[in-house]
Subunit: 234 residues, 6 copies
């Protein structure tokens, strides 16, 4: 689903840069003779990589930030002169945000709250009508003001900056999202149908790992902690 | 402005393919393992070429149709294995529309009504929720049901097909559009300011060609005809 | 050698699409204004990746299928808008075959018979003269009718579909194949020449792994099983 | 048709480089670690450009020669580091042929015999089994030994060099060729059907230009000269 | 020769950005995680296009400015997301220069002094050690302080900005330059040798146009004006 | 730093091919109609990959040699028809050097002297004025005559071949190099500042690995061996 969200984030960003949607009225691609939009992508994980692919495809001037040098090197191999890669630190994040027409944040730490890398203090130096698409909203968001929104009213404005914070982005393209989900999960469903749950779990480590409750007992440490339940090893 | 409209058409199309906007819920780019959308671009003029650039950038499976073989050959040089070029005839247009998730029409005949190449009869064989962006709406549109819409309510649905027919597409990105317009027109404004209208017209053929009225008389044949005025040579 | 076979498979496929060779008379690349051939590549292993590279190079409209999502994602990074990647399941394989002018199968399971993914039932819905290049023929082939052929009579026709099933494809380009083989094996030959077999085996794990018989005893489990011999640890 | 022939020429060349077809046994693309074939394309007209596209697509090391600097510059823009462009003179043609595994000649002078740019004297310095595809065979061919061949026996060998000289190359892919031809000619057929020949000729300059006989008189200067007929202006 | 100078200009610029050569110590390409240099190319004629090709090749962040919209559109087709194209006006030139680590000027007006587009007033806002390569130096140069230099001492510094103003840049790569020159001129030399000057001039318009003196009289208007000679029609 | 050196090596090589710098006077990129330079890159490690990227960017005809087949395959994926990959053995290295205008060696064996792969015996068959950039000079160099040089006198000539052997190449672009170094090391400095050395070492394996002396005792095996000191485990 991160791939869907990453790709969608650029379409949403480009759309909300339109004036009638509160944006600054910049066409992400520019046209010959008129500068294209600057896009800053914070985090080069699955979300960031997929956003990058779409933003480059729309001819934006893209800067991508991460601390993972191996990933930045790979992106440099793939995209070459099409992008700027920057090591992610406070100074570079601020710089990239201030220069950006569109900021996409895909900074997700597995099982932890997303860090608030995008400070409200940056906003006063950004162009009014610039857009932040906060794909990390599921885990609390990457800005200090992020709060989850829905597809029917996807944005809010703080200090002139448009925030797109839809928590369930892939829900907008259910046909693609469902097939993508099936590609990853159908085999497990078939295993359970064929073998019964117990046998299937013995066969498949990932399936075992995915069981949250069994015979009325919580079997997943994370869920148990979150809901203050007793956890029982499967 | 055709460049702005052409580029924007793909962003609008991708956006309106989203389920909450009436579309079929397909992500234009697909994701690895899930098919990408089919995009048919009818007409490889300025609108079509710019739409093509964006649609390819978003990893869609693009087919472009035109009768201009020289232009199709140029596009084949530039885009190679990224696109399919088809000679435009009734059979190919129907085929391309029926297979498309998104149809973009940029068929503009200078000074004439756009031909209605996209028949309503095609719709029953198209996937419900497919989108037609009719950039030719300024000149009457390319479908049999096209009618101009506005940015605040840009689409209508006929036989399950979403029609995007905003007549003033570049108005959504005024910052880019204004600069693009200035790049083409500012020099003429400066000429008039520097030299006075009469001298400027003598210097510049395009400027002369752009004068519609002079000393209370209509000086442009097309406008005169349209409004039933007497036309006086400048 | 899989790299040679994978690359060659597209040249063979393109050649046998010619009418005088039994094919449907389609030029794999198309020309501007005429659709290019659809190529389905089943399996994105070494054979599939190399076939992909050549098929894209010849401007075909390529769909590649595999269950390995990581590999599909890598191919999406490298080829972007040039290909469609599909998760491999019965439905998608059938769909891809039916739409294909050329099917290339490179589905090889190490040390096992190739699965018969391409059903004869598909043929009646394929265009007559379409071509299947079955690179998996060494391990039994991927179609229900595959049988090994030779370079002097490389194809046979079943239900109108041309099957190319040469078992030793790299033999057609011995100059390239020999050098490729030397690049991988010469170092081991030199080790044996320099050190004697016993010392060389102690130095090199891959070399030890490659010894099939020693002092009259079979030392390779697989060969021993196949020929019903006693196997003796080296 | 030149586009079909140009594209096909590379597939034929790659195929006939195979050992069982008399070639040197080189895989045109090479594989990683093994050099790719050198391909020399003489003439950057329609044939040459289309051959170039396919040869680059198959990862060959391509050199293209022409005297048209504007065309070479365009190819440099499109292909950049993928090709070498050389000004065509005797020295460069000889050099390119001697280093080539595959030579493709598309030197066509409209309405004249093709110049014999590829001298038999080059052959002794070429690698045995190298292939020449002489697309100019329709107009006499580009080598000193060229003679037309047919699809059922397409090659002959002189001094160890394989010559492919099929005069009607597009005939191998009739499906693609027929559609390509229709794209260019159908409109004229429809004009004649709709308007009658006389009216159609008045409307269309190219159609008029294409009339060879009218009311029993030859109306085409070239044909008249060739067959020693009287020529009558249409 | 403009092609040689344009390509060389980027190598010279990259070299002189090195600290030991007075530059700011920036590597033109950056490395993953470190920003690449900004390169502004003023003028998209032959010099500019060739500089662009090399600067993009070295992964610089390139902005190209011109008033020729058709050329900017072509560059957008070829380079897509790799470059920014800007309409050339005072504001954009100043902006591009101030942000640039390397400025390359190739603004040549045929037969006229190059306009002084790069103002000394810009320098105080540029990073010290930035480099200007003034390929227009042959026609007076594009900066207010340009003066011709030679290969043995190619640069001078004004207000902290390094100026590279070698008037005969192609002289640094005589092997390439000589062949390039021969490609364009040899045919004329051969014509004169074969036919004598008088006949050759009758055959060839360009050759006639290139004659500066004949029988002791100056026959070229431009040269005559420059040296205050009488001009006699050939 | 290897990335900086690898990228810089091509700029240095291109510069020193200029006649005034002792080179053969070849422009690395060629121009349309004139052959581009042949560049041989020996070793496809970090240095080689980065040199490759720049050399391809400058449109050189690049051959890269390594024994690592996986790396060659990756480069083939990324660069396709833009490069030739060769398995590195004596024969191929000699061949590549003899045909090269520019040789870049980045063969570094961690903690060992670089192998002398480039024999002086090759020089007599190379074009005079060809350039070798020996990035392995830090570890003794890759040629039989290599000796370290400095930025103020970077080259020497042996048998007509220009050797560039600056030991501290990244020192030429200190701005880029310093930031690159900071990206990798700053976090460790901050850890020591925050936690004190002892705690920081406990937290971070790489930091511990980097300590050479502690309380007056040498704690690094390599340094201890090199200077004949007693080594004390940290």
């Amino acid at each position: 689903m991160s791939e869907v969200a990453g790709r969608l984030s650029v379409i949403e960003g480009a759309k909300h840069l339109e004036k009638p949607f509160g944006g600054s009225g910049v066409l992400i691609s520019g046209v010959p003779g008129v500068a294209r939009a600057n896009v800053a992508i914070i985090g080069a994980g699955v979300v960031g990589e997929n956003a990058l692919k779409m933003a480059v495809g729309l001819n934006a001037n893209v800067t991508v930030l991460d601390v993972n040098m191996k990933k930045l090197t790979y992106l440099d191999d793939i995209y070459g002169s099409k992008i700027t890669t920057l090591y992610s630190n406070n100074h570079n994040v601020e710089d990239a945000c201030i220069n950006a027409d569109l900021v996409i944040s895909g900074v997700l730490l597995p099982g932890a709250k997303a860090p608030k890398l995008i400070k409200r203090a940056f906003y006063k130096n950004m162009r009014p009508g610039s857009v932040i698409v906060d794909v990390a909203i599921d885990q609390g968001g990457s800005t200090e003001v992020s709060k989850a929104t829905y597809h029917d009213d996807p944005t809010f404005v703080v200090d002139g900056i448009v925030h797109y914070c839809v928590a369930n982005m892939p829900g907008a393209v259910p046909r693609t999202s469902t097939i993508a989900l099936n590609n990853s999960t159908l085999r497990y469903g078939l295993m359970i149908a064929d073998m019964g749950l117990e046998e299937a779990i013995k066969e498949s480590e990932p399936l075992k790992f995915g069981v949250n409750t069994y015979e009325g007992k919580c079997t997943c440490r994370g869920v148990a902690d979150a809901f203050n339940l007793e956890c029982q090893e499967l």
